[in-house]
């Protein structure tokens, strides 16, 4: 006979830390591995794109505009100004990732402390939830419209608008996790021991809330990437001639009759990036789930 589970103290999980268990679960999930590899590749390409790109992104060639993919010297063709599409896609993806990270960083820097405060201090909860309601009332595009009107359209402003719009989501998950953690015995014990609120938040609650913050960030990045594409497409984000996948699609719309293929690739790249993040985020959430059996 095989005894599968025996008294709790002797269970096989003893000695194996949570981190190794999560990593092992991730390694065993083929979707997690594939999406991680895609993201790692994208990160490498983004970092090295100024050197990897075969052409300068601004190098025009009016003799060869709107060349189809597979043209000599231009693997993915050229755009309306004869610039190399492959180079612009590489740099555009880099900009997408930049905005994604910048936006999420913005939302975390503001959202995490507010979420902690809302969950930990009862008195702050009502005030912070009114603030959340207020933010929610301005959808990210409207926020971007307002920011663009006041400060002009740019990559930075687009990222800030997206980041601000993502703050309520961060507050929500951090707040509920803080509420959960606050009720646990070890936090109560620390409070009884006379630890200050700030100490409890920094040493006990925040470290334990990192997993939900991580998951939230992983799903917020693809949303920000999509947001950047939308804003740039509308002209509210990255400004030409800087390369952006969104503006490439806007150009493609203009020249759709002559070069219909131009609308395909930038979209595929945006979707691929967002999909890789979303798949990895799902896998991460499952790996972190103590119940563990939900895919």
């Amino acid at each position: 006979m095989t005894v599968l589970t025996v008294p709790m103290a002797e269970t096989g999980t003893a000695g194996i830390t949570r981190r190794t268990r999560v990593l092992r679960r991730l390694r065993r999930n083929p979707l997690a591995v594939v999406s991680f590899v895609v993201l790692a590749l994208a990160a490498v390409v983004a970092l090295l794109s100024p050197w990897l790109a075969p052409y300068s992104v601004d190098q025009t060639d009016f003799a060869r505009t709107l060349a189809p993919p597979g043209s000599a010297g231009h693997l993915l063709g050229t755009d309306d100004l004869g610039r190399d599409v492959l180079s612009r896609i590489m740099l555009g993806a880099r900009a997408s990732l930049q905005v994604g990270l910048l936006a999420v960083a913005t939302s975390l820097v503001i959202g995490v402390p507010l979420g902690l405060a809302a969950g930990y201090f009862r008195a702050w909860d009502a005030v912070i939830s009114r603030f959340t309601d207020l933010l929610l009332a301005f959808p990210f595009l409207i926020m971007a419209v307002g920011l663009a009107a006041i400060r002009g359209a740019s990559l930075g402003n687009a990222a800030v608008a997206i980041g601000i719009a993502q703050i309520p989501g961060v507050i929500r998950v951090v707040r509920s996790d803080t509420l959960r953690l606050k009720s646990l015995d070890f936090v109560a014990a620390a409070v009884v021991d006379g630890a200050s609120d700030l100490w409890v938040l920094a040493r006990h609650i925040l470290p334990n809330a990192t997993s939900v913050i991580l998951v939230q960030a992983t799903v917020a990045i693809p949303a920000a990437i999509l947001g950047e594409a939308v804003l740039s497409f509308l002209g509210l984000g990255i400004q030409p001639p800087a390369p952006s996948l969104g503006t490439m699609l806007a150009t493609a719309q203009q020249f759709a009759a002559r070069a219909p293929w131009a609308a395909v690739l930038p979209g595929v790249v945006i979707m691929g990036l967002a999909l890789a993040f979303n798949v990895f985020g799902d896998a991460l959430r499952d790996a972190l789930d103590p119940k563990g059996d939900r895919r």
């Binding site: 409207i142 699609l249 979707m271």
Partner: protein, 318 residues
């Protein structure tokens, strides 16, 4: 119930007030003299003075705010700098388009999302679940303005099945109206459908493994009744909340979709206004969006209390 509603109403009113202040302050933060911005072509000192007096710009800020609220409450959002038409009349022509597009998109998204979510939960571990999950992930990751672009290129232009752009008002010709709006609505609905699907699936998995579903099975109910009457009814509470929270995303999506399909709605008006620096229009759009979001979410809360008796009924009936 009454207390719950009163609390929610008070909170909504407060948020509305706060967002009005934000917009008001935002307008003051606009670059340059607001009188200059309002003046348009005639920028003589006399004209600017007249504008300042008319809009109360020479008054202290709290007075200005009070006057601003008063004007907005009367539906006076000022006059478009570019066209000279009152912003309110621009809104009355643009809003119905956006409302129709959004409502249609929500209906499509709910039907698709709830259907696929229930299917995925009921067919747990089977190919149907895998397929539905994959579709939802793609729906979540695809830029829908790009889908719209492809739809125009490869559906409308290539086959002529749908018009590539343009709009016919609903009352003028309902069939032609639907013909113009159904493709944009489907495109706008896809992203929302993906989110609703994932939430429905997860809520359904929770309720399908709950004790009351076990009770329902033990009563001898058919699987269909177990799923719809017991599991789905409880899951909808979660789903309704999600739909309410996605409203902002829907408004953003509507702006983009209208831009792509050339629908003369709120979104197109907004984008045009940004590029033309038409501040009165931008201001009205931002304020109105916030107000719409707050009011609609208040009604979502009402709906929530209809579905969930734990909110609806307080106190013991005996």
């Amino acid at each position: 119930m009454a207390r719950y509603l009163l609390t929610r109403a008070w909170q909504s009113a407060l948020t509305l007030l706060l967002s009005t202040i934000v917009v008001f302050v935002g307008v003051r933060a606009l670059p340059g003299d607001p009188a200059l911005a309002l003046a348009g072509e005639d920028r003589s000192p006399e004209a600017l003075d007249a504008i300042r007096r008319h809009y109360g710009l020479d008054q202290p800020l709290p007075v200005q705010f009070a006057q601003y609220v008063e004007r907005v409450a009367q539906g006076d959002f000022g006059v478009s700098i570019r066209t000279g038409t009152p912003v309110s009349s621009m809104l009355t022509t643009a809003l119905p388009v956006t409302v129709e597009l959004s409502v249609l998109a929500i209906v499509i998204a709910s039907v698709l999302g709830i259907g696929a979510g229930v299917l995925a939960a009921v067919r747990r571990g089977r190919p149907a679940e895998w397929f539905a999950n994959a579709l939802a992930l793609i729906g979540l990751s695809v830029p829908h303005f790009w889908l719209g672009l492809l739809a125009i290129l490869y559906l409308s232009v290539a086959t002529g099945l749908f018009p590539a752009s343009g709009f016919v008002p609903l009352l003028e010709d309902p069939v032609d109206n639907l013909h113009h709006i159904v493709l944009p609505a489907v495109i706008l609905g896809t992203g929302l459908a993906a989110i609703i699907m994932r939430q429905t699936r997860s809520a359904m998995l929770d309720s399908l493994s709950s004790d009351y579903v076990r009770t329902a099975k033990a009563k001898g109910l058919r699987p269909r009744a177990v799923v719809t009457r017991h599991a789905l009814r409880n899951s909808l509470i979660v789903v309704v909340t999600v739909v309410g929270l996605q409203l902002g995303g829907l408004i953003s999506g509507a702006v983009v979709t209208e831009q792509i399909f050339g629908l003369p709605g709120f979104g197109k008006m907004t984008i045009d206004a940004v590029f033309q620096r038409d501040y009165p229009v931008i201001q009205a759009v931002v304020l109105l969006t916030a107000a719409a979001y707050i009011v609609i979410n208040f009604f979502v809360d009402l709906l929530y209390s209809v579905i969930d008796p734990r909110i609806r009924v307080t106190g013991d009936p005996a």
